[in-house]
């Protein structure tokens, strides 16, 4: 099972190694050694993290590393796009730089792969096996690279793009390392704050005075979807910058050549090579797209029951038996749907690790009410992919499901229908209604 989980990581590490060998001209062996060394370092580092820290912080650190690599890619991309203004530099060449880059890339790949092992304890053996496999893959990639035709050129920025894209793809396979979903939330927050601040500083009138159909468009900027689109922009812009930098690199000056045919030949060769240099960057775009897809449609198996329709007694009491067709105390999440007067509300009941039943809405205070599913030890918000540990379900705040008042009797759980409807209305309204700039 674990091995199957690791296959995509192994493949992406092999591809990373292959590109590293092709991208750096400093000698195949050195790149392979420093890459594998980095991989080993990353895997062992991850093991140390998992032994020393609680899983959330360990994952947080690895995710932070991924975030830094995305930032670095941004830096590389911006510099590449500025390249025409640049005099040629030699900073980014030389053995030391090569070793450092290969080592860093290996380190991240190792850490990401190793984090998949965290579920099965912290014994050393599987990590050592992973490291061996990583080294073998890197050497194999080095051998394969010899057979790849020479026209397949990997420039510095494209190399960075491919490596980071593959790392992010690897991270998107694991819910706890996924970067895209949290980025979505941050971007949403930023967009909201920024538009708000902009309107305040430019003294732009609030929605009271603006035409409502125009406000609909402005409201998009405050909406939930803006987070997704904004995150896409942050995700793909560096790649587009790199593609732009390659595609619009100025043609070489041929004015000193006094034969038209020769001038044209040089230009044609340049244009021809440029086409090939685009391939890795476009490949990176594909990989990142896959990462976004994985992040939005995670392949993790959730416990995601279909909501059961419940009704209330005439006095507005919803009763759910403790042991009926469904055993409330089996530790699984049980979803219910209640309809009243054309409106409906969802809630779920779950028994926490402490052995107490909890009743919460199937929605949180900040996200679109896409609901929750259950994964190992946690429930997950389908909208923002936040994992909520089971022992905090029932507390309010953040993306936690909104707690619901209920009374627990011997035979089961009683919920007041009015409370439920009101609670649902309040929650869903605050998350779906377009908020005004001034609140």
């Amino acid at each position: 099972m674990i091995v199957i989980k690791l296959i995509p990581h192994a493949v992406s590490w092999a591809v990373i190694a292959l590109f590293l060998v092709r991208g750096f001209h400093a000698g195949r062996l050195m790149v392979i050694i420093s890459g594998s060394g980095g991989f080993a370092l990353g895997a062992l580092g991850a093991l140390v993290l998992f032994r020393l820290l609680p899983p959330e912080s360990a994952f947080g650190i690895i995710r932070g590393g991924l975030g830094v690599s995305l930032l670095l890619l941004w830096g590389v991309a911006v510099m590449a796009a500025y390249r025409p203004f640049w005099k040629r530099t030699t900073y980014f060449e030389g053995t030391g730089f090569t070793v450092m880059c290969a080592c860093l890339a290996g380190c991240m790949a190792g850490a990401v792969s190793a984090s998949r092992l965290s579920g099965s304890g912290t014994s050393l053996a599987p990590y050592l096996a992973l490291i061996l496999v990583g080294g073998a893959l890197a050497s194999y990639a080095g051998a394969v690279e010899k057979r790849i035709p020479e026209w397949f050129i990997v420039g510095g920025p494209s190399l960075a793009a491919v490596v980071v894209a593959l790392l992010l793809y690897g991270s998107s396979l694991s819910l706890r390392l996924d970067l895209f979903a949290p980025l979505t939330m941050k971007v949403m927050k930023f967009a909201h704050d920024f538009v708000h601040q902009f309107m305040e500083s430019m003294l732009i009138p609030d929605h009271v005075f603006i035409r409502s159909n125009l406000w609909k468009y402005i409201g998009v900027l405050f909406g939930k979807e803006i987070g997704f689109w904004g995150a896409l922009v942050i995700w793909f812009t560096p790649l587009l910058l790199i593609v732009y930098a390659i595609q619009f690199e100025p043609l070489p000056s041929v004015a000193h050549i006094r034969q038209g045919a020769e001038r044209r030949r040089l230009l044609a060769v340049f244009i021809h090579i440029r086409r090939y240099r685009l391939i890795p960057a476009l490949l990176a775009v594909l990989v990142l797209t896959a990462a976004v897809y994985r992040s939005c449609v995670p392949s993790v198996e959730y416990w995601d029951p279909k909501p059961i329709v419940v009704t209330a007694t005439p006095v507005g009491d919803i009763f759910i038996p403790r042991k009926g067709d469904i055993d409330l105390e089996d530790g699984k999440l049980h979803k219910y749907l209640f309809r009243q007067g054309g409106k409906e509300a969802r809630f779920f009941i779950i028994m926490g690790p402490s052995g107490k039943l909890t009743v919460v809405l199937d929605a949180c205070a900040i996200c679109k009410p896409d609901g929750y599913g259950q994964a190992e030890g946690t429930v997950i918000c389908y909208y923002c992919k936040t994992l909520i540990p089971l022992d905090t379900v029932g507390r309010s705040g953040g993306c936690n499901p909104v707690p619901l008042a209920f009374s627990e009797k011997d035979d089961g759980v009683h919920i007041n229908a009015v409370t439920l409807m009101n609670e649902w209305d309040n929650t869903v309204q605050t998350t779906t209604k377009v908020k005004g700039a001034g609140k």
Binding site: G260, A261, R263, R264, L267, A268
Partner: protein, 225 residues
């Protein structure tokens, strides 16, 4: 000593039973203007096609401009034709719906990238500066052939092949074309090999070889001119 741009030993080309070119040994020094004569079916075109890389010999060795044409791959041969050879045929083979400039640019495109200013100046050099935007149908035979010359020399070939380029022209146009070719050769210093049936045209060259049934029967060096 001038290097030989073309060197063949035992060059043979046969089509099934028909042997169009018997084992042939020729050397052409760089910069020479060689005329090739012989009656119809004697293998002149076959020889030209081999030298121009349009066809591959059945046996023998053939080196053009230092390249062993038998050793080249298809891609290599294509690059060789692009960068080394210019050809003018009896039929002009111009694209009828493109203008003169566009026809020349077409050759640039297949070589590398089009360059209109250069195409224009090439046409000006062959004296067609005033007919840049005309289509082949609107040009006389002599003018068409001059467009072909512009097209043949646009990529600065080392070797210009002509397969009866003046075959369809009257006397006056023939003279004009030949004079133009000579002028261009003095500037660009390419080697010319020209197949012709016309004794007078052949006389423009430095040397004339005669083929008969695929065999080189005579090799004459002109003493004047």
């Amino acid at each position: 000593m001038i290097a030989n741009i073309i060197q063949t030993t035992g060059l043979t080309r046969s089509y099934g039973d028909i042997c169009a070119l018997k084992p042939l040994d020729v050397q052409v020094p760089e910069g020479e203007w060689l005329s090739v004569m012989g009656h119809s079916g004697s293998g002149k075109s076959t020889f030209m096609n081999l030298v121009g890389g349009l066809d591959r010999p059945s046996a023998g060795s053939l080196s053009v401009g230092g390249e062993d044409l038998l050793a080249l791959t298809e891609d290599g041969l294509a690059r060789f034709r692009r960068e080394f050879i210019g050809i003018i045929f009896q039929q002009h083979h111009l694209v009828p719906y493109l203008t003169a400039v566009e026809n020349v640019m077409m050759a640039q495109y297949f070589h590398s990238v089009p360059d209109e200013a250069e195409a224009r100046s090439a046409l000006e050099r062959v004296g067609l500066g005033h007919r840049l935007k005309n289509r082949p149908g609107e040009l006389s035979g002599g003018e068409q052939q001059r467009v072909c010359i512009a097209r043949a020399i646009i990529n600065s070939p080392k070797l210009l092949l002509g397969d009866e380029p003046t075959g369809n022209l009257d006397h006056k146009s023939t003279i004009m074309v030949m004079e133009l070719l000579r002028e261009l050769r003095s500037e660009e210093r390419f080697t010319v090999i020209m197949v012709t049936h016309n004794q007078e045209v052949a006389a423009w060259g430095d040397r004339t070889i005669y083929l008969d049934d695929g065999v080189l029967v005579r090799d004459e060096r002109a003493n004047s001119r």
